[in-house]
């Protein structure tokens, strides 16, 4: 943890100089602006992303330091707004769109709304983290289990789905109401993980039944779950976004983060350049930067997002996770099966089944 902070300090000095001239916050907390040094005819770049400003700021600052001539605007939107705004004809298109909602991003690229990027960095990008040359996964974030050490004393820690299932079954009374997971109805990420989990193994439904058995709470965001865990309301959280959990757990010693050892879903943030992008040149430069060693290094060192670049090692990088977990790493594939999760009938079917399994034990139980 010290290394990132040291370099952060170095960057803070650079940022301070920049902020004097450039950085401005407009439109509340949802827009980050870096104006160009030479204002006349500066090429501009508008990025729409479903990433918190806090996560994006180091990346944008580094990019701005490298290309100070580009007038940079980052707009933080929710995944759904992002998608709707993209498809709306009236709104001016962004130059770069990045989002963690993989199916929606895939749907856009599949419809031919993205343009190809063929810079060397893009061409060398790992096959598993891109689709054509239009869609690139630039982060590597495992889906994890977080639990409170004190709450599970005497029990086997849930280091896999199998172990979690047996824990929930054995400690049903003790854990009643103290388990939390994503609400698949309200959260897109929760729904995506549910489809992937169901696809991985039919025993997932037993796990859902067990979750229903302990009357698990359903949350909308990872942050909500982490807060509950820190406060002691929950003992176990299932399917949390590892990138957020890692730093949080580091700050809360009573919490423990486990990447399931049987299989660990990995989600990736996908970036694309819209065909309608008004400034394709600067957009290409930015995405190329995201995929470059320098950009990935910033992601590794200053964000918890996890670098994908094959040459980078260190905590949270794809290379590191693959080395420690091997075959258990299961990145959500950037392929047409993502479209299936968007199918409304499919969604109904899955959620119905989820509901059925979730309520199975409570109905029949004592």
């Amino acid at each position: 943890m010290t290394a990132p902070y040291r370099s952060l300090a170095r960057w803070a000095a650079a940022l301070a100089g920049m902020m004097l001239s450039a950085m401005a916050l407009a439109d509340g907390a949802h827009v980050l602006r870096y104006t160009a040094d030479h204002e006349a005819n500066a090429p501009s770049l508008e990025i729409h992303g479903a990433l918190d400003n806090g996560l994006m700021a180091p990346l944008l600052a580094d990019f701005h330091a490298r290309y100070p001539d580009i007038d940079l605007t980052y707009r933080n939107l929710t995944t759904l707004t992002l998608y709707r705004r993209f498809l709306s004809e009236d709104e001016a298109s962004a130059d770069v769109v990045m989002s963690s909602a993989m199916p929606w991003q895939y749907q856009l690229a599949n419809r031919g709304h993205a343009q190809a990027l063929t810079t060397p960095a893009a061409r060398q990008w790992p096959q598993a983290s891109r689709w054509r040359h239009e869609l690139f996964g630039f982060t590597f974030e495992p889906v994890v289990i977080v639990y409170r050490r004190d709450a599970l004393e005497g029990a086997t820690p849930p280091d896999s789905h199998e172990a979690l299932l047996s824990l929930l079954t054995r400690e049903r009374q003790r854990l009643k109401g103290r388990v939390v997971t994503y609400d698949p109805w309200r959260s897109g990420a929760g729904y995506t993980y549910a489809t992937e989990d169901a696809y991985m193994s039919p025993r997932y439904w037993e796990l859902v039944a067990a979750l229903g058995g302990v009357e698990a709470e359903l949350a909308d965001t990872t942050g909500e779950m982490l807060d509950g865990l820190a406060e002691g309301r929950y003992a176990v959280g299932y399917n949390l976004l590892g990138s957020y959990a890692r730093d949080f757990v580091a700050d809360h010693p009573q919490l423990e983060m486990v990447i399931p050892s049987d299989y660990a879903l990995v989600t990736q943030r996908l970036v694309l350049i819209p065909k309608r992008a008004p400034h394709p040149k600067t957009a290409e430069r930015f995405v190329d930067y995201l995929l470059s060693r320098q950009g990935q290094q910033v992601i590794r060192d200053k964000t918890p997002l996890g670098a994908v670049h094959t040459a980078l090692e260190g905590e949270g990088t794809a290379r590191d996770l693959r080395k420690t977990l091997g075959d258990a790493i299961h990145p959500i594939a950037i392929d047409p099966s993502l479209l299936a999760t968007l199918d409304t009938l499919k969604r109904h079917s899955l959620l119905e089944r989820w509901q059925r399994e979730y309520t199975r034990l409570s109905d029949s139980g004592p």
């Binding site: 599949n110 419809r111 031919g112 047409p336 099966s337 479209l339 299936a340 199918d343 009938l345 499919k346």
Partner: protein, 460 residues
């Protein structure tokens, strides 16, 4: 006969006629192979559409009174190959209402069977669309529905390219081989021609011996034609040689006579004897001079390169002139020479000196072979010249022979044997018919009528 740059080469001609169609054929085969490759690729990838649509269709059921499906993600994965095609799917009910899917895909109306394929242009994308018609499997409810799947053509194009490149390489190799074989074949086929040329060139220019060379049938014909020509030339040369031999013999005899007569006279002292000898010698010299001039005429007539000038002449004039010229000598020999002409001019396109020569020869002949009465006659319709006498005539068997040079109707007579040959030559030069018939067939002697009969095309 040296090969000129502009003259077309047989070799090149053959090559063009073989290679151009071959290239055209090759191009056609390339196009065909491209179409076949595309067809194969389409069929291979249509299987993907077929199985994907099938696995989707299997998941369609009826739930809460409407069509329902649990979309299998594997079905969508199936639609994309390594080429990472964009994939689209949709479920439609029997009334063409969109139920679910990621794109509104059109229907295919034409075609047969439960699975139909077509290429469509959809939102600037070239798609291959597959539509499966199916129906619910149930005891009562057998509602029909359509599963439509589509993907972009990248994978198909890549496979087409691979297949096409393979067959193109094979085709190119075959074309190379074929061109080599054609080059070799044409060279081999034209080899006998080279052999014939070499054989002709290697010949002694003086020899007229036939070519003896084994050649293919087409060239053997040429060789036979050539040999025919050579044979004709041999005959012509033999004729010429005989003619020269005869002519020199004919000239030597009077000259030898002259020489002998002069020697005899020189041995005598009597001036009277000298005078007699001189008289005989003059007659001999006259005869020789006439012979020489006849030989000259004959040579001129036989020379195929000479182009005598023909013009319109009056046959009556010619006939009268000929009679005038011969009148003195005939009168001396006691021969009655006469001419019969129409009162008006008879115009014929002819070479004047030749016609005059022919008449002179005929009159001379008649007077030499014992005629006492000679009539030159000009006739019309058809235009003709006749010389008629009351001499002994020519027996029918001899009539063709007398036309040959140095053949004399009667041995021992005083003619040169060239007269009728010259007339025949002139007749042939004018494309006129020469006929020899008895003047009075039933009388004795029968006499002879030589007739020059001008025909339509009688222009020399």
């Amino acid at each position: 006969m040296s090969p000129s740059v502009n003259s077309p080469s047989l070799y090149r001609r053959l090559l063009i006629w073989l290679l151009v169609p071959m290239l055209a054929l090759g191009t056609l085969m390339l196009v065909q192979s491209y179409l076949a490759s595309r067809d194969t690729a389409d069929r291979a990838f249509d299987r993907l559409l077929e199985s994907a649509s099938l696995s989707i269709a299997e998941q369609v059921k009826r739930q809460q009174g409407q069509l329902w499906m649990d979309l299998p993600p594997a079905a969508l994965k199936m639609l994309a190959s390594n080429a990472e095609e964009r994939v689209f799917y949709a479920l439609y009910d029997a009334h063409d209402n969109f139920i679910s899917g990621n794109a509104e895909l059109p229907r295919i109306d034409n075609g047969q069977g439960s699975m139909r394929f077509t290429n469509i242009q959809w939102h600037d994308m070239a798609l291959r669309l597959g539509v499966r018609r199916s129906q619910l499997e149930g005891w009562r409810d057998r509602q029909p529905f359509e599963v439509r799947v589509a993907h972009t053509r990248e994978g198909r194009e890549a496979l087409t390219q691979t297949l096409f490149q393979g067959s193109m390489l094979r085709l190119i190799a075959m074309a190379m081989l074929a061109i080599g074989v054609v080059l070799l074949g044409v060279r081999m086929a034209l080899m006998p021609l080279t052999r014939l040329r070499r054989a002709i060139r290697a010949r002694d220019p003086r020899t007229l011996a036939p070519l003896d060379l084994t050649l293919p049938r087409e060239l053997a014909e040429l060789r036979e034609t050539l040999n025919d020509l050579l044979a004709r030339m041999r005959r012509v040369r033999a004729n010429q040689e005989r003619f020269i031999g005869d002519a020199s013999h004919q000239l030597r005899t009077p000259l030898a006579g002259l020489s002998a007569r002069a020697e005899l006279a020189l041995r005598q002292d009597d001036p009277r004897a000298w005078h007699d000898a001189l008289g005989v010698m003059r007659g001999s010299a006259d005869k020789t001079a006439r012979l020489a001039s006849q030989l000259l005429s004959l040579t001129r007539l036989n020379n195929p390169e000479s182009m005598p000038e023909a013009r319109d002449i009056d046959l009556c004039d010619i006939a009268r002139q000929a009679v005038r010229d011969a009148l003195t000598s005939c009168h001396r020999a006691g021969i009655d020479l006469g001419v019969e002409t129409p009162s008006h001019a008879v115009i014929q396109h002819a070479v004047e000196w030749q016609i005059a020569e022919a008449l002179a020869n005929l009159i001379d002949n008649a007077s030499r072979y014992g005629a006492s009465r000679i009539t030159v006659r000009v006739g019309e319709n058809p235009m003709r010249l006749e010389v008629e006498d009351d001499g002994p005539g020519i027996p029918e068997a001899q009539r063709l022979l007398v036309l040959r040079p140095f053949h004399r109707g009667m041995e021992g007579n005083q003619g040169s044997g060239l007269g009728l040959a010259i007339v025949d030559g002139i007749a042939r030069a004018h494309a006129a018919r020469l006929t020899l018939v008895p003047a009075r067939p039933n009388a004795e002697p029968p006499g002879l009528r030589v007739r020059l009969h001008f025909t339509e095309e009688s222009t020399p």
